[in-house]
């Protein structure tokens, strides 16, 4: 581990589980990781916009990352937590929470360990992926947090989704 830290080019990433897979965010955009708190659902919006929480007196919105990435909705378990990130939303710095099944660790990756996302095979929108990192005989998907949390192009369409019953309530 130490030797990797010493490498000036290496970069820190926070890894977390999402539906059995490992994903990572660039540590720079992460503010904190908090335990799952009661989320107040905001009605009549897309499913992945699962509501708002009280973060020390500020109302912060939360996104269900699994739904956004086309997976099953996040199940409420003991380990579930909210990763609070700070992003630039159309010139406005905002804090947002992202649901993760569980947070793993902070790792160092060299740029040489990160490859460009393949054109196919990830079953994910390639614009959401920053790269694929090699780590301990496995790989992890580094997500493009700004793009994932960016405003939807067509909010109306997503707002129309039927059956807004939530697993988290």
């Amino acid at each position: 581990m130490k030797s990797e830290e010493e490498n000036a080019n290496s970069h820190q990433y926070l890894t977390f589980n999402l539906g059995g897979e490992i994903f990572a965010f660039d540590i720079n955009s992460i503010r904190e990781v908090i335990d799952y708190a009661d989320i107040t659902r905001v009605p009549r919006l897309a499913d992945h916009l699962c509501g708002v929480i009280n973060l020390r007196g500020n109302v912060v919105s939360v996104m269900d990352l699994r739904l956004k990435l086309g997976m099953e909705a996040t199940l409420k378990t003991e380990e579930i937590c909210i990763v609070v990130v700070e992003i630039d939303l159309d010139g406005e710095m905002v804090q947002m929470g992202v649901l993760a099944d569980s947070v793993r660790e902070v790792i160092y990756l060299n740029p040489s360990d990160i490859e460009r996302p393949p054109r196919m095979g990830t079953k994910l929108h390639s614009k959401y992926i920053r790269g694929i990192g090699r780590y301990k005989d496995d790989y992890l998907i580094i997500l493009h947090i700004d793009r994932i949390l960016a405003l939807d192009d067509n909010p109306q369409a997503s707002g129309e989704t039927e059956g807004e019953s939530k697993k988290i309530d």
Binding site: T40, V52, N54, G57, V59, S61, V94, M96
Partner: protein, 729 residues
Amino acid sequence: MSQQSKYVETYRQETEELLELIEESILDLEENPEDMECVNNIFRSMHTIKGSGAMFGFDDIAEFTHHIETALDLVRKTILPVSNALIDLILASKDQIKAMLDASCGNTQVNAGTGDNIVAALKELMPENISGTSEEGQDEKDKDEEETDHQHEDSTWRIRFTPETEIMKNGMDPFMLIGELVSMGDSEICIQTEAVPCLDKLEPSLCYLSWDITLTTENSLDDIKDVFIFVEAGSRIEINAIEDYAVKNVDESLPKLGEILVDRGDISNDIVNEALGGQKKIGDLLVESGVLSREKIDSALSEQKALTRRKKQAIAGSIRVGSEKLDTLINLVGELVITQAHISQIMGDGEHSENEEDSEISRSEFATPVESLERLTRELRDCALNMRMIPIGTTFGRFRRLVRDLSAELGKEIEMVTDGAETELDKTVIERLNDPLVHLIRNSIDHGIQTPEQRMEKGKPRKGVIRLSAAHRGANVVIIIEDDGSGIDPESIRAKAIERELIQEDSVLSEEDLFALVFLPGFSTAGRVTNISGRGVGLDVVKREIDSLGGSIHILSEKDNFLKFSLSLPLTLAIIDGLLVKAGNNSFVLPLSQVEECSELTEDLIGKTHGRNITLVRGKIIPLIRLREIFNIPGDPPALEHIAIVQTETVKVGIVLDQILGNIQTVIKSLDRHYRQAEGISGATIMGDGTVALILDVPGLIKCAGNEENRQMEVVIGANISSFASGYK
């Protein structure tokens, strides 16, 4: 550096305020050209802009303002009459100064040519004999002033300047002041260093020096005093006049006499009062030697006293606080309100707790302080919010200029009447209200009020009137913009709407609904497009902005008679009184100002609804909105539901809920961009127990329910048609 930029920022703010003041005064002056107080106000403001401009490095502004000041001075002396041309020029110069100020922030470019043109035009206005005899504005003014004040070309002044030791901490550079004096004429400067302490006691940030300056200049005493205008408060400044003749005598034949006089001043100069005494002695000397008459000395002294008195009056009973500090205060008060709500909630819960005996004592003990805390919190909240309240009149003032300029441009005669300028609104609301109001007023000027000829034909007075009024109404402020122009014809709106396919040809719309159509994007009934309005972009933007402020806008009009926009706005954006309600597990807050009454939705009532969402309340039919349905809240409603009857500008609606919990003070937290598009929700608030409750947006909710119903009906009709079609096959 940051210190410096802080002063620059202060200057910028002050100048902007002064410019507003100037505009106000000049418009007053236009109405009352005889009112010298207006001229004086403008002159004073311009002078301050010039003086502090030079001090903080806004040399271009200072130089430009100087020319205006020169002209104004002539007006003050009734040499130059108040003319329309002059008023136009001063208004233009006000704009130019503003542009220069903006340019100094680096945002925009200033057109120097405009400034030169203004100055040139001003010079043209000046009477021949004055602009002809001297080249520069400075000379004109001085000459003039001296002619009236001193009857001498040059006079010599002895100035003793002892700045307060803190002067440099206040961002003033004594050398700058002295430099300014030197630039006035011939000067001899003598620095006094006896106050400088030993090196080990020396505080480098303090100023221990004082200066004796002998200045021979054309400028008047006032000009010299003006140099010190910003340091007057803490510093000792003595300015003594020595007649030309005397100075010549002193300088040529008795060179030491001056020094003796100065020395004598030093000795008796420990306190300001004594300084005044010392001054008199010099005066006495001069009188004795027959150089100056007693009256002159006395008048100079009384002038000085008068000036000091005026300065004292000018120190108003208010302080300047940065708005970010106020925002912090409001936020903290918000937190306090939340915490207080939590405490109240715990107290309330305690009443229903099972182990009554345990908590009995502590609860009764706590009841009183908790109540006081609640009261204090509310007072503190109101007080804090009140600090952000500013009268809307500041905005109204700005519109006078708009009306004046635009009506001149369009060849119309329009008078603006304002009412309720003292009505107070939250600063943020006022700031965001400016653009919509500008739009509406432009609209009235351009389309509403016709040309004088057209008005005469219609049998109206030549001069059109735009009435701008503001008044409190409950928790709202109502702002009305009314013009007595051509109004709008509901039928022409209908025609236009049909043409644009916004409504069906046979749709039945009330007059009010028709008027509401003009707020749709791209809708304009104006036949022509001008650079002022008519593109139909204005009104939808206005509506959006008013909506985002949590307000509403309505039109009332009669063709050929009047057009009236009425805007209803919340007093503040930060904290509202709300009604806490529940549907399912979710808490919602209804703005209390909109809730009319609460009642129960009894089985009896449900029976009468026949499955439709309407009910009778006090003999009136009221549509119902079921929050559970509209928000897709899972679970079954309780046996007894409640209705909160809310009143919007136009309709009365009952909102069906599970439970009504009671009043709550809510600190409004806006939602981020993802959630801002949520229908029927205007924001969120944090409850005492730390959970988040959503604040309902009643008009949005009504709109949303209407859309929902239409959609469902379409689905039903669509299903019917398809079943019919399949049956036909």
